[in-house]
Structures are given as structure tokens and as C-alpha cells.
């Protein structure tokens, strides 16, 4: 671990958080309404798959998982220094009339969730959309709140919170990086 990082959660503890989140999603299950998980790329997708795996025994049925790429819905697209790479939205089911759970790793300003909501609503009309995040670190800029939260963390505005998840990252943990310290590269690449 990088010396400027503070570990909030190791791999096994994160596993626990995900199990708890899955149980809360299962409790809120509505009979007769299809439940679908949609992960926000990048790390919302493996997280959604993990939740689905935990949900299967709780619900006694498979929960479909999709992925949404919010790139085309970003409110800062025109300001991006480097043009983002599209990774595609893959939602191989009909969201009409379903209870959709948006899944992301970290909830911060809420702008990503806003973009994801617009993306989902372009695909159809779900019966409901809820939000499940592994970490809520505060500092919202939009009136958006999560329905299911794994871990709430008090942070300064300039801090970074990183969730590392298989298979995107080699090891699993949640870390906080203080404002001012150089944030370590993700996936071996420098920060923008």
C-alpha cells in the first residue's frame, strides 16, 4: 500500500459489506416485479456482479446484471482534456417495468449517478430506480442519495477514495488518500 493511503477496509471486510448490501437489496425485493442490477462502468460493474452472486441464494433466482457507460451523458464532456474512450452500454434485458438498482463503487458529487439515470431512462421506463454504493463519501453537488450504502466515510472535498476490486485491480481494498498528497496512479497510469 502506498504510504499516503489510509486503508479503510481490507478485502474480507469489503466482502462483508457487499453481503450486507445484498441482504438489504433482498429485503426490499418486491414480489412480481423483476429486479435488475446495472453497474456503472468501470468498478460498478464487477460490484454489481458480486451483489448478484450474493443475491441469487437469497432470492432463489438469478438477478440479471447490465453495465452502463455514462461517457455520453457526462456534463463535463465538452471540458474533458482528453476525449474519453467509450466502453459501451450493455443492458441485455428490458428495463421497462423493472426495479432497477444502479450500482457504483463510490458516491461523491452525484454527477455520475445523474448521468447514469439519464442513460437508463433513455433505455426505457423502469418501475423504479434505486442506488446502491459501496462507499458514500459525501460532498454531493446534486440532490441524489443512495438507498443502500456499504460504508459511509467522512472526507475532505479534495480527498480521494479508491475502491479496488477484482478483476479490475490486482488486490481488493478501500483506501482514502488525503487531500494534497499525490494520488497514486490507477491501473498503473498517472492521474489526469
Amino acid at each position: 500500500m502506498n504510504p499516503s493511503e489510509r486503508q479503510l477496509c481490507d478485502g474480507p471486510a469489503m466482502e462483508q459489506l457487499i453481503s450486507t448490501m445484498a441482504r438489504r437489496l433482498a429485503d426490499a425485493r418486491r414480489a412480481g416485479v423483476p429486479l435488475q442490477l446495472v453497474g456503472i462502468r468501470t468498478r460498478g460493474v464487477p460490484l454489481a456482479h458480486r451483489l448478484a452472486r450474493e443475491l441469487t441464494p437469497l432470492l432463489g433466482s438469478e438477478v440479471p446484471v447490465g453495465a452502463v457507460d455514462i461517457t455520453l451523458y457526462r456534463d463535463d464532456l465538452g471540458q474533458a482534456e482528453h476525449w474519453p474512450v467509450l466502453r459501451g452500454t450493455e443492458i441485455p434485458f428490458d428495463v421497462d417495468g423493472a426495479d432497477v438498482v444502479l450500482v457504483d463503487d463510490v458516491l461523491f458529487t452525484g454527477r455520475t449517478v445523474r448521468a447514469a439515470l439519464n442513460a437508463i431512462c433513455d433505455l426505457g421506463r423502469p418501475a423504479s430506480v434505486r442506488l446502491a454504493v459501496l462507499v458514500d463519501r459525501g460532498h454531493r453537488e446534486l440532490p441524489i442519495q443512495a438507498d443502500v450504502v456499504g460504508l459511509e466515510v467522512a472526507t475532505a472535498r479534495g480527498d480521494h477514495v479508491r475502491v479496488r476490486l477484482h478483476p479490475v485491480d490486482p488486490r481488493e481494498e478501500i483506501v482514502q488518500i488525503e487531500a494534497g498528497s499525490q494520488a497514486p496512479p490507477r491501473n498503473g497510469r498517472p492521474e489526469p
Binding site: 456503472i40 462502468r41 468501470t42 468498478r43 457507460d69 455514462i70 461517457t71 455520453l72 451523458y73 457526462r74 456534463d75 463535463d76 464532456l77 465538452g78 471540458q79 474533458a80 482534456e81 482528453h82 476525449w83 474519453p84 474512450v85 467509450l86 466502453r87 459501451g88 452500454t89 450493455e90 443492458i91 441485455p92 434485458f93 428490458d94 457504483d104 463503487d105 463510490v106 458516491l107 461523491f108 458529487t109 452525484g110 454527477r111 455520475t112 449517478v113 448521468a115 439519464n118 442513460a119 433513455d122 433505455l123 426505457g124 453537488e141 472535498r157 479534495g158 480521494h160 477514495v161 479490475v168 490507477r186 491501473n187 498503473g188 497510469r189 498517472p190 492521474e191 489526469p192
Partner: protein, 377 residues
């Protein structure tokens, strides 16, 4: 219901940095793959009931067509609209061009109206390149004489890759009027850069031997090479570009080079048949072949939309294309246009830099050399 074949984003997707798309000859294979991969992502949008994303909101795409076109111009317009850009068509008839205004002046006037992208078709080879030297906005070549038609080449590549799963190692026949065809040139560059073998076939007057210098096999005997082909791209006889007498008669041409069911029987069972359109039924191919199981003609049209969305999207990523310099002196993102200023709280570093998505590396692929994400101060 919305599904997409998984986007195959190669490392090249991260490396797009061009302002213009003038031809496939200039591109490296990674750049071609970057467009094709991006197009795969955009293909999904066309399967939605609401076929629109807000990515290019506030941008203006201008179609500047000095030659007739329905398919290409409509396709570019629709592509721009699906990205929420505004589009405007310009046609020289009834415009100041008929009063003697020069080509560059016309284009500069359109740019002065705020065009971000000019989609240019012109009968003179190199016309879009000329505009690229004189204008600040992005130029897309939508066909310059018999030179190049890069988005057609790209949509052919996309159609082949979707049907065959690869380009590398395929044998692709280009059939018909090669000499007058910009589609042929863009196909040759694109296919050979991605590792396909290209066979050019047609009457000697339309398929000069000299084209072997482009690395292609040149033949005048369709029946001899057809069994080797994985793909045949049937090019239109360009009656409007030809001098008379390049072949004795349409009937004779059809006898030797028309794609008929009988000929298809000698071809590979999974032969893929492309035609850039418009097709002359009964000249280049028979109606039953055009509508038959080998034909991917309508897939090409669908894929053309995705390719053009990808090109418009990728070119719009260039700051210079938006008429702003790249210098950043005060920590504020430069070149923000009023229509794209979504943060009501001002443009201070705090409000711009670290939206949650941004912090979470949304904009970068999980690969080496991925592009940076956002304008973090």
C-alpha cells in the same frame, strides 16, 4: 431492450488525436481500429427506442455537399442528430457559389457561423484537404472525386469485422469500376492496413494493372478468383465519372462481372457480399443476389450510421476543433462554450475537477495508455 456485441476496445481507442478525417491512407491501423471500436459502442444506441444521446449537445455539424448524395448526407445528418448536435445542410445550387464565391470563401463563411465540423463532398480530389489547411474547424471527407471516401471504407470494414469476426487474413475482392472509385481506394487502404488481401477485379479499362503497386492482386477474370474470396465488394459503375467507351456495353459488362446466383454457387458458402450503393440492379448484381443471404448491403447502411457517429464523436474531442487554444494558465478549463457550461457554481477548480465519476476514473479504459479523464486542475 438494448444490447450490444461487446465492444472490442483495443489500445488504439485511446490514441485518437486527429482533428480531421481526410482519408484512410493517412491512418495507422490502431487509429482505424479506434474508430471501429468506438462505432461498436455507438451501434447499441441505434437499437434503443430512444435513439439519442446528449454527447455533442451544442455542436454544429455542417454538411457541405458539392456533389449529389442521399445516403451519405442523410447518414451524417442522422449520426449528428443521434449525438444531439445541430445539423445544417448546404448545397451549392441556389447559393452564392452560383454568384462566383470561391470554395474556400464559402467554407469560411460557414465556419464563421459557428460550425464545429464540416462534412465535405466535392468532385475534386483533395478539396477537403484544402479546407483543412484554411479552416479551424474539423473536416470530414465525405468523398472527394475518385480519391477517398473514408467513412464508406470504415463502414465496409465494420460490416466485414462484424460478419467475419476479423479482417486479418481475409481475402477481399473489389469488383467493378476500380479506377473511378473513391470507395475502392478507401477500401484498399483500410483493408490492407488491417491485414486483408485485396484482389481488384474488373475490365482492364476500369482496373489498370498499375494498381498492383498498391499491394493488390489485379485480375480481369472474376470466375477465376471468386472461389478464393471471403468478401466481395461490388462497386457501382460510375456512369457519371466515365468517359465513353471504357467497356463495349453494359450487357457485356454484366455478362463478365455481374454477381449472379450462378456465380455465387462457385463461391465460398459464407461469402459476404457488400455494395456501397446506389446499386444498379441487373448491372453489377442481380436482384435476387442483392436481396439474398450473402448480401450485407443493408447492414452496411446501418453500420454507416454507427461509424459516422464514432467519427463525429472522436473528432469533436479535439479542443482546436472548437476554436480554442489548449493553454491552461489559471486552472480553469479553457475553451468552454456557454452552451457547455453545466456547473452553475462557477468554473473554479473545485467544481470542475472532481465529480465522483471523474474521480473514479470513468474516462479511462482499464488499459495501459488510456487517455486521461477530466480537466482536473
Amino acid at each position: 431492450m438494448s444490447t450490444v456485441s461487446s465492444p472490442r476496445l483495443g489500445p488504439g481507442a485511446a490514441r485518437w488525436s486527429r482533428k480531421h478525417l481526410l482519408g484512410l491512407e493517412d491512418l495507422v491501423p490502431e487509429e482505424i481500429l479506434a474508430i471501429l471500436d468506438t462505432a461498436e459502442s455507438f451501434a447499441e444506441i441505434s437499437t434503443r427506442s430512444r435513439k439519442k444521446v446528449p454527447a455533442l449537445q451544442g455542436r454544429i455539424v455542417f454538411n457541405l455537399f458539392f456533389e449529389s448524395s442521399t445516403r451519405t448526407r442523410t447518414s451524417f445528418s442522422l449520426a449528428a442528430k443521434r449525438l444531439s448536435a445541430d445539423t445544417q445542410d448546404f448545397s451549392p445550387s441556389g447559393s452564392s457559389v452560383s454568384k462566383g464565391e470561391s470554395f474556400i470563401d464559402t467554407a469560411k463563411n460557414i465556419e464563421a457561423m459557428g460550425a464545429d465540423v464540416l462534412v465535405v463532398r466535392h468532385p475534386t480530389p483533395g478539396a477537403p484537404h484544402l479546407l483543412a489547411q484554411h479552416l479551424k474547424c474539423s473536416i470530414i471527407n465525405a468523398g472527394d472525386g475518385a480519391h477517398e471516401h473514408p467513412t464508406q471504407g470504415l463502414l465496409d470494414l465494420m460490416t466485414i469485422r462484424r460478419a467475419k469476426g476479423r479482417i486479418q487474413g481475409l481475402t477481399v475482392g473489389l469488383l467493378g469500376d476500380i479506377a473511378h472509385s473513391r470507395v475502392a481506394r478507401s477500401n484498399i487502404w483500410g483493408l490492407s492496413k488491417l491485414g486483408a488481401k485485396v484482389i481488384l477485379c474488373g475490365p482492364p479499362t476500369l482496373v489498370p494493372k498499375a494498381w498492383e503497386r498498391l499491394g493488390c492482386e489485379v485480375t480481369h477474370d472474376l470466375d477465376a478468383v471468386l472461389p478464393r474470396c471471403d468478401v466481395v465488394n461490388v462497386l457501382r459503375i460510375q456512369f457519371e465519372r466515365q468517359k465513353r467507351g471504357l467497356f463495349p456495353s453494359v450487357a457485356e459488362y454484366s455478362q463478365f462481372y455481374m454477381m449472379t446466383q450462378q456465380r455465387l454457387d462457385s463461391a465460398k458458402d459464407d461469402l459476404l457480399l457488400l455494395a456501397p450503393g446506389p446499386i444498379n440492379r441487373g448491372v453489377e448484381l442481380t436482384p435476387e443476389v442483392a436481396d439474398g443471404r450473402h448480401s450485407a448491403i443493408l447492414d452496411q447502411v446501418t453500420n454507416g450510421l454507427a461509424v459516422r457517429m464514432a467519427v463525429l464523436f472522436l473528432l469533436s474531442g479535439r479542443r482546436e476543433s472548437r476554436g480554442s487554444s489548449f493553454e491552461e494558465t489559471d486552472g480553469h478549463p479553457p475553451g468552454r462554450r456557454p452552451s457547455q457550461a453545466p456547473h452553475p457554481s462557477g468554473s473554479g477548480p473545485g467544481s470542475v475537477g472532481a465529480g465522483d465519476g471523474l474521480d473514479q476514473d470513468r474516462t479511462r479504459s482499464g488499459r495501459e495508455g488510456g487517455p486521461g479523464g477530466n480537466p482536473r486542475p
